[in-house]
Amino acid sequence: MSDATLSGHNSGPASVDAIQSSYLQQVQRKRLYGGLTLMIFALLMVAGFMTADARNAGGFWEGLHNVGDYPADVLSEAWEKRAALPALIVKYFPALVETINIAAVATILGAGLGLILSLLSTRGLARWPRLIPVFRRTMDIMRAIPEIVIALVLIFVLGGGPVPAMIAIAIHTAGALGKMFSEVAENADLKPLEGLASTGATWAQGMWLGILPQVAPNYVSYALLRFEINIRASAILGFVGAGGLGYELRNAMAWGPGRFDDAAAIFLLLFGTIIFFDQLSGRFRNQLTTGGQA
């Protein structure tokens, strides 16, 4: 018992002093490094801002008070013509459906391709382990090129319309989802896979029955998140001639004053859609990750 009392462990005042002073030294060193890092960070921020401001054609401070002008113009004109808004919303609804369609098809195609790529590039699961770097770099490239660049090239080749936009978004989605999917698959339990392999199952059978049931909730959740992002992307691609809501918005904005009510109606549609799908997929994802799992 005596060995367990508090006093039995005391190492004497001298060594406590030593521990205290050495720990304080350590703390001071850490604080010094922390302070230096913070200073460098602040200097870089200030320097970067000044460079950007100097190169800016208009200048940040001179332009700052004009920031609200355009939204104010749009809002005031839209308010004057508010009676026409419901009719305009109905008018642009088909364009909205086109935008959502582009996003949905692109998400499904991209998720399918991303699924295959992710399994091929995950250590422990890959069909050809030596080709993992090849598939990984492929996904990197697909992610690295902005959708709008792919879309511009495809529109140049195939002509304007929803198909180039869909392909462009699908390529980007495959790269982005493939990366996320592969991270989820890395944490999957390999024991079921070993069990299936012992029965003589093929690689595809093993993946389908041994891995997918484990990772499905996470995959669906990521795919839904990507669908939200793709709705936004598909609206933006309309600006470069891919059709849908973005195309109408560009026309309305390019015409300038006089058609701002159209622009306001399109903005309303876009906001409404994004909020709607955000809420829907948020609720669905919650169900998948918490409640829905058996």
Partner: protein, 276 residues
């Protein structure tokens, strides 16, 4: 000093703690015993205000703390330190930082972010660690320590809070018998030397008997026994644990000597049988 008045906690339709009442007049060491799921942890969590009670009141030194909110609730939590079964330290931070977390209630968030603790506090943290016999571990990461050492860091964090009450939720359930003894003895010494109230959930009877001045037995959310360790007979213990006649205290023991005694008794019985 501390009084619980028919404290109740319900999770949906299930009642975890049902009308628990007891009164403590002066600082003492109290052991709460009972099976898993008897409501011991829920009771301690309500005392610390980690979770809210459904009904009833907690009164400490004349102040009702049952419905405290915001900063007054956090201030109460700083006076009522908690020790957990799984230690609940920040594994990637060093031992002294973990102990200094005991002062968070007095620090602003900003100074915490930059790890700016006063030198006096750092000195006191290391002195507390020395008192618990682990001062040499001060600069190490908490995750590098053994379970018994980590639990003593948790106790040091609790002491750093300079609390009126220390709540210990199964403090020795994850420890081997030797470390369990050191941790329990530390809690006992804190009670005796600093005159702080200690309330510990224990799942073994002999620990409660050995270290506590008062034992409270819980079964299915209700307090079924409240008395001194001497009053805790085998029959009462069977009632608390809902066990049949085959229940023996040694079976739940983590004490080395109890186990030795039990083994010796069995050996003697075997010898006697052999002689017959």
């Amino acid at each position: 000093m501390l009084e619980l008045i028919s404290l109740t906690k319900q999770f949906g339709t299930k009642t975890a703690v049902e009308r628990a009442s007891f009164k403590v007049d002066h600082p003492m060491m109290i052991g709460i015993i009972g099976r898993s799921g008897a409501g011991k942890s829920t009771l301690l969590r309500m005392l610390n205000r980690l979770s809210d009670s459904t009904d009833g009141r907690i009164v400490f030194q004349g102040n009702d703390i049952t419905r405290l909110k915001g900063s007054s609730r956090r201030h109460w939590q700083s006076r009522c330190a908690m020790i957990f079964q799984q230690f609940n330290l920040v594994p990637r931070m060093d031992v002294v930082s973990n102990v200094l977390h005991g002062t968070l209630n007095q620090r602003s968030t900003l100074s915490t972010m930059f790890n700016l603790y006063p030198q006096a506090d750092i000195h006191r943290a290391i002195e507390i660690l020395d008192r618990l016999g682990i001062a040499e571990q001060a600069p190490k990461r908490a995750e590098a320590l053994s379970g018994g050492q980590q639990q003593r860091v948790a106790i040091a964090r609790a002491l750093m809070q300079d609390p009126a009450i220390i709540l210990a939720d199964e403090p020795i359930a994850s420890l081997d018998p030797m470390n369990a003894q050191i941790v329990m003895q530390s809690l006992r010494d804190i009670h005796e030397q600093d005159n702080r109230m200690v309330i510990a959930n224990l799942h073994t009877l002999d620990t409660a008997r050995r270290y506590c001045d008062r034992v409270i037995g819980m079964r299915d959310g209700r307090i079924v026994f409240d008395g001194t360790p001497e009053q805790l007979s085998t029959n009462v213990a069977r009632d608390i644990y809902g066990a049949d006649a085959s229940f023996s205290e040694a079976a739940t023991s983590t004490q080395i000597d109890t186990l030795d005694r039990e083994t010796a008794r069995l050996l003697e019985e075997a010898k006697a049988e052999a002689l017959v």
